[in-house]
Structures are given as C-alpha cells and as structure tokens.
C-alpha cells in the first residue's frame, strides 16, 4: 500500500518535486472536488454557496502552488469575498433558503442522460490526456521564471500587451453595473400597463374619480355613470354619450307612449331623460 502510494506520488511528480508540494496538491485537490460535489448535491442554496467558498479556497491554494500569488489573493478577495457574498445576499433577500427536493425529476430520463454524457466526455478527455500530450507548444523565454514578483509581471503585461482588453473590461463593468441597476429597480407605477396586479392595485381609484368628474353634467343618477365610465375608458365618450343618446331615448319614449296623452308623457320623459343616458350607454356598450 505504501509502495503504491509512493509509486503514485513519484508518477505524479516531476524530477524535483518535493513531498510538500505533492501533499499540498493532494489536500487542495480533495478540498476542491469535495466542495464542487457539495455545490451540486446540497439541497439548501446556502450550503451550496458555502461549499463554493470551499472550492474557491482550494483553487486559490492551487494558484499559490503554481506561482500565481496575485491571482490567489484576487481569487479569495473577489470570488469568496464579493461574488459569493452577492450570492448569499440574493439568497437571503429572496428568501429561497429552503431545501429543495432533489429527488424530483421533472424531465424523464434527463438526469441519467446528463450523467452519462458528462461521464463520457470526462473519460474521453482524461484518456486523451493520457495517450497524447496536453501541450505541444514551446515554452516562453521570458515569462514567469525571470525572478520578478508576480504582480510586476502581471501589471506590466496588463498595461502593455493587453491594454485594449483591459479597457474593454472597464466598459464591460460599467455596462454590468448599469444593467444590474436597471434590472433590479422596481418598475415605475404607470410604465407597465401589462401587469395586471399593479394595474389592479394602484390606479383603481383614478378612473372612477375621472369618470365622476367628467360626468359632472349628469349627476342625478350616481349609480349609472360610474358603471358606464370604466368601459368607455376615457372620459370623453361619457360626456359625448348623453348628447347622442338623448334624442334616441326621446324617440323611444315618444313611440312607446303614443297612445297616452302627450303632455304627461313628455314630462315624464323629460324627467327620465336625466337618468336615461346611463342606460343608453349600457345599450351602446355591446
């Protein structure tokens, strides 16, 4: 057993690898893989976020092991300090920190298919790495081994060779900030007429008051005018309806009371004509 472990370690290392490096890599790789599996299988999103932090710390250790010390610091600060905190903030803000039923499978056969596909791809990549070389390029001559600190090399490269992508990155960050503000902003009350809930909530009082104000010339029948007002939508048809509907009702009253004595009929029609525009509006609606 010890011989097998030693054989694995000697196979894993190059000629000058020390035991400290191998042990650090083994521990960090175990942390990374355990955290990644924990992200996938954790039921609670908060647990997933904490497992993600664990994975990111393992990645940072691996960065240190490969002489990328600045990136390790940035990894811890930006990823574990900002991005995961943002995740946790959104989880707590939305209140979705409840457990999820992982066993439920909405798409039949999707999960075994995904697992099989991923396993096939992973095995193929690993076998490809075994039978061939990962890299075939020639090593750079003036790179990491110049003895300068990592930050100096990175800064000089960013501000000379990669200056334009760096500026594009600045633009990208500005756009992301503006997009996040626009997306997370609560929409204004009148700018979204499609939403039924907000439409039912806040402008509910406005059309009635508008209709009552617009139907001011016919205030005798208080029940008919607010009923006809929301269907007409704008207040102008409400004011226009009594003008057009009044002769119709007068003709209808004249024809219906043809046999009766004319003067009382006319007076009753005249008395009803105040309230009739509401019924005229109801007839004209369908």
């Amino acid at each position: 057993m010890v011989g097998a472990v030693a054989a694995v370690i000697t196979a894993a290392t190059t000629a000058h690898a020390s035991w400290v490096d191998v042990g650090t890599f083994a521990v960090a790789a175990a942390i990374v893989l355990a955290g990644a599996i924990g992200v996938v299988v954790a039921r609670n999103p908060v647990h997933s976020a904490l497992m993600l932090v664990m994975t990111l710390f393992g990645i940072a250790v691996l960065f240190v092991l490969q002489r990328a010390s600045f990136l390790a610091a940035v990894q811890v600060i930006v990823y574990a300090g900002a991005i995961v905190v943002l995740f946790l903030f959104v989880i707590m803000f939305l209140g979705v920190d409840r457990t999820e039923d992982i066993a439920a499978e909405p798409l039949r056969g999707q999960r075994p298919l995904a697992i099989g596909l991923i396993a096939l791809g992973t095995t193929g990549l690993l076998l490809l790495g075994q039978v061939s070389h990962w890299t075939t390029g020639a090593p750079h001559v003036s790179g990491l081994d110049t003895g300068q600190p990592n930050v100096n090399l990175l800064g000089r490269s960013v501000y000379t060779t990669y200056l334009f992508p760096f500026e594009a990155t600045a633009a990208l960050l500005i756009i992301a900030v503006v997009g996040a503000v626009v997306l997370a902003r609560r929409p204004p009350v009148t700018a979204n007429p499609v939403d039924e809930e907000e439409d039912a909530d806040e402008p509910a009082g406005d059309p009635d008051t508008d209709a009552i104000l617009a139907a001011g010339p016919a205030p005798a029948d208080g029940s008919a005018t607010p009923e006809a007002a929301p269907d007409s939508g704008s207040p102008e048809p409400v004011t226009a309806e009594p003008v057009t509907a009044e002769p119709v009702t007068a003709q209808a009253g004249g024809t219906a009371n043809a046999g009766d004595p004319p003067f009382p009929a006319v007076t009753t029609n005249g008395a009803e004509s105040v309230a009739v525009p509401g019924s005229g509006g109801q007839e004209a609606r369908p």
Binding site: A12, V96, W134
Partner: protein, 101 residues
C-alpha cells in the same frame, strides 16, 4: 520543484465536469449560477497551469479577465433573478417558461 501539470489539468477536467453536471441536473437558478462559477474556475485553473507550463504570463492575465467577466455575469444574472422573483416566487428554472412559443 513542481508537480506534473497533467494532474492539474485532470483536476480541472473533473471540476469542469462536475460544474456542467450541476448546470444540467439542478433546477434552482442560483445553484445553476454557482455551477457556472465552478466551470469558470476549472478554466482558470487550466489557464494558470498552462501559464506555468509554457512560462508565459498571458495565461494569468486571461484569468484576470475571466474573473472580471465572471463578476459582471453574476451581477447581471442575479439582477435577472431578482427581477423574475418579483413576478413569481419560485426558484426553479422549470417555471420560467413565459417565452415558450
């Protein structure tokens, strides 16, 4: 002095596979975002490994840019999630079928 780069690359392959599996399997949108972060970290590990192997600082610069893009992606994605949650209080991606034809 250092470990064989093959092991780093194999580790990043496995990490990427786990992240892709999480994106395919999980239904919570936030957990799917976290799995995307796992995949980005696997790519970052590959970049750093190649930077060390090929003795080139460009790989580390690319990791820097990937970090920025990941931050922007998370900000916009979580903004979208918040905007969706304002309409419907459910976390699963199966419920977001509003744009279904």
């Amino acid at each position: 002095m250092t470990i064989n780069p093959d092991w780093y690359l194999a580790l990043s392959v496995v990490l990427f596979a786990i992240g892709a599996l999480g994106v395919l399997v999980r239904r919570n949108v936030l957990v799917m975002f976290m799995c995307v972060e796992l995949m980005l970290n696997a790519a970052n590990l590959t970049f750093v490994t190649f930077a060390r192997t090929l003795n080139d600082i460009g790989g580390q610069v690319l990791v820097f840019f990937v970090l920025v893009v990941a931050a922007a992606e998370v900000v916009v994605g979580l903004g979208i999630v918040v905007a969706i949650f304002r309409r419907r209080a459910n976390a699963t991606a199966d419920d977001l079928h509003v744009m279904k034809g």
